[in-house]
Amino acid sequence: MTEDQDSIRKASRRREGRSRTVQRPRRPPAFIAIPATIGLALFALPVLGLLGRAPWSRLATLLGSDLALEALRLSAISSVSAAVISLLLGVPVAWTLCRYDFPGRSLLRGLVLLPMVLPPVVGGAALLFALGRRGLVGSPLYEATGLVLPFSTGGVILAGVFVAMPLMVLTVEGGLRSLDQRFERAAETLGAGRWTVLRRVTIPMIAPSVVAGIALTWARALGEFGATLTFAGNLQGRTQTLPLAVFVALESDRDAALALSLVMVIVSLAVLVALRDHWWRSR
């Protein structure tokens, strides 16, 4: 083949490749654009309000206070822990709900999603009745190990897991459901055992959903307020996370509340945008 023909072939292949990615128009028609703009404004305005009122010049001092630093540290630890625990427990739950048929499955699925619709305060109260020192499970637990979950950092994490894990289950189950099982069957015929199929095929193929699940659970746990307050209380340095600190500061020091809110907005937005770009755009 001559060089000429080769380059023509390459060019046509490139064109072919490009035509495959659908060219999206830049502007929606008015009947979509107007309500969409209002909807987006609803998201953007509070953020803008926060940015406009933020005490930019005193930011460093405000965030350097004990209250702020301890809340930041606690929120970082508890939200990440909650996301990790949701990952470790939520993926098997999603797997079970998606891949196995057993009596009571729909009931279980409803149960798993309950925390999403329950007011967090109710969730926190329920946790207290179950795991409080005199609770159903809490009291034998205390007697056996001396462990008390309420009003501890562990309690904060638990409350976060409770409200956030449904998001993990939901996204991962969706990912598993849309995975054609022939991919896994094909791997078996190619010589892969169960573990290899899991490691080389299933997990890589549902990875985008898992990552989405991690992002959502983490963000949800970071923002958790009601269940934490009810179950874990509001103890500075032990259970007072960022949202609780904001709530407290709103009464005493508005600027501190604004500064802390700003941190939450920026960190959450940065993580969500980054993850979305990396994992969801290609889908």
């Binding site: 069957r185 078996e188 015929t189 190619l190 010589g191 193929m205």
Partner: protein, 394 residues
């Protein structure tokens, strides 16, 4: 390499739905066998049982001389090609093809060589570093083939591998697969619902029918020519061949010394010995099968031979040949086999009306026009005879 043996295999899904009964097939080492039949007849089920993706409810399956009923899919040494290719979107073409080899811990260098060689045979070398998403349907099909051949398995199992391709590409890939098989000589079990694909590709073709009671799904297994010339029953006769064989109820009669087949006012004289033993002068009603090409227009056929004069209700002029449609006033042939074939076309016996419709393939230069009458000579040495009750060939 190895042959594949089905020994009285049966499959019951979920303890109640029977999909397969009593299928026995012996596939020789290196043979290319096609399983063909209407959708739902159990082709995929049989293939998946060989692959180990479905367990075997009854009977035995052997690969080579090893019974594989309880062998895990990964240890069966087969390579399966799926209809939707099942290529991994998160891997490049190269990694997709190397997948099976890596699992076997094949040395890197050998993997490279084998993938390169397969890519060369399949002409996909240029695409090795792409993801499957960036390939056309035909290219993906080749990658799926490549992934199977690099493993050098004992047998290939292919489940409708060409059905996602457009007609032109399908014909091209069909002959490429044929070439590939003669080059590699690997035992191949190939599933399709397309009888043309089956006939052109198979050393032998197994015709399957959806289960009724516990009668075997397997209707006949034979070379394409044998299937065409000697179908064992109405189902095979009606399924193989396009346009399909014409069927008509006829009574075996006599005209002087000659034996005749009488139906709807027509009487075809057949030579002595054309009918199976015991039928001559029997006055029995049987089903006669006539392939469309067993007809010819008198003016193209020359003098002599049995003929029938008909009125063309529709003429399809293709240039190379013409199809003349006509009807004969006899109730249409309806048996369980015919109903199974009609169901495949999405209709039932009521669509046949109360006449028997025929299609004749004739010389295009001599074809009549619609509404004209024509004298059709019938090659009575090419007739097929079936029992009207059982549908079996007589």
């Amino acid at each position: 390499m190895a042959g594949i043996t089905f020994d009285a295999v049966g499959k019951i899904y979920g303890g109640e739905t029977r999909a397969i009964a009593d299928v026995s097939i012996d596939i020789a080492d290196g043979e290319f066998v096609v399983l063909v039949g209407p959708s739902g007849c159990g082709k995929s089920t049989l293939l998946r049982m060989v692959a180990g993706l479905e367990d075997i409810t009854e009977g035995k399956i052997l690969i080579g001389d090893r019974v594989v009923n309880d062998v895990a899919p990964k240890d069966r040494d087969i390579a399966m090609v799926f209809q939707n290719y099942a290529l991994y979107p998160h891997m490049t073409v190269r990694d997709n093809m190397a997948f099976g080899l890596k699992l076997r811990k094949t040395p890197k260098k050998e993997i490279e060589e084998r993938v390169g060689e397969a890519a060369r045979i399949l002409e996909i070398t240029d695409y090795l570093d792409r993801k499957p998403k960036a390939l056309s349907g035909g290219q993906r099909q080749r990658v799926a083939m490549g992934r199977a051949i690099v493993r050098e398995p004992a047998a290939f199992l292919m489940d409708e591998p060409l059905s996602n391709l457009d007609a032109k590409l399908r014909v091209q890939m069909r002959s490429e697969l044929g070439l590939l098989h003669s080059r590699l000589g690997t035992t191949t079990l190939y599933v399709t619902h397309d009888q043309v694909e089956a006939m052109t590709m198979g050393d032998r073709v197994a015709v399957l029918k959806a289960i009724s009671d516990t009668e075997s799904n397997l209707q006949q297994i034979a070379s394409p020519r044998e299937l065409y010339d000697h179908p064992r029953n109405l189902f095979v006769a009606g399924f193989i061949g396009s346009p399909a064989m014409n069927f008509v109820y006829a009574t075996v009669g006599a005209d002087g010394t000659a034996t005749t087949l009488d139906f709807g006012g027509h009487s075809l004289a057949v030579g002595s010995g054309a009918l199976p033993d015991g039928l001559e002068r029997s006055e029995r009603e049987i089903v006669v099968g006539v392939r469309p090409e067993a007809f010819e227009i008198r003016s193209a056929a020359g003098a002599g031979g049995s003929a029938m004069t008909v009125t063309a209700s529709l003429v399809e002029q293709l240039g190379s040949e013409a199809y003349v449609h006509f009807a004969v006033p006899v109730r249409p042939v309806v048996t369980a086999d015919i109903e199974a074939l009609l169901a495949e076309e999405g209709t039932d016996a009521s669509a046949l009306g109360d006449e028997t419709k025929f299609t004749a393939r004739v010389n295009p230069d001599h074809a009549p026009r619609v509404g004209q009458s024509a004298e059709l000579v019938v090659d009575t040495t090419k007739l097929h005879f079936f029992d009207p009750e059982t549908g079996d060939a007589l």
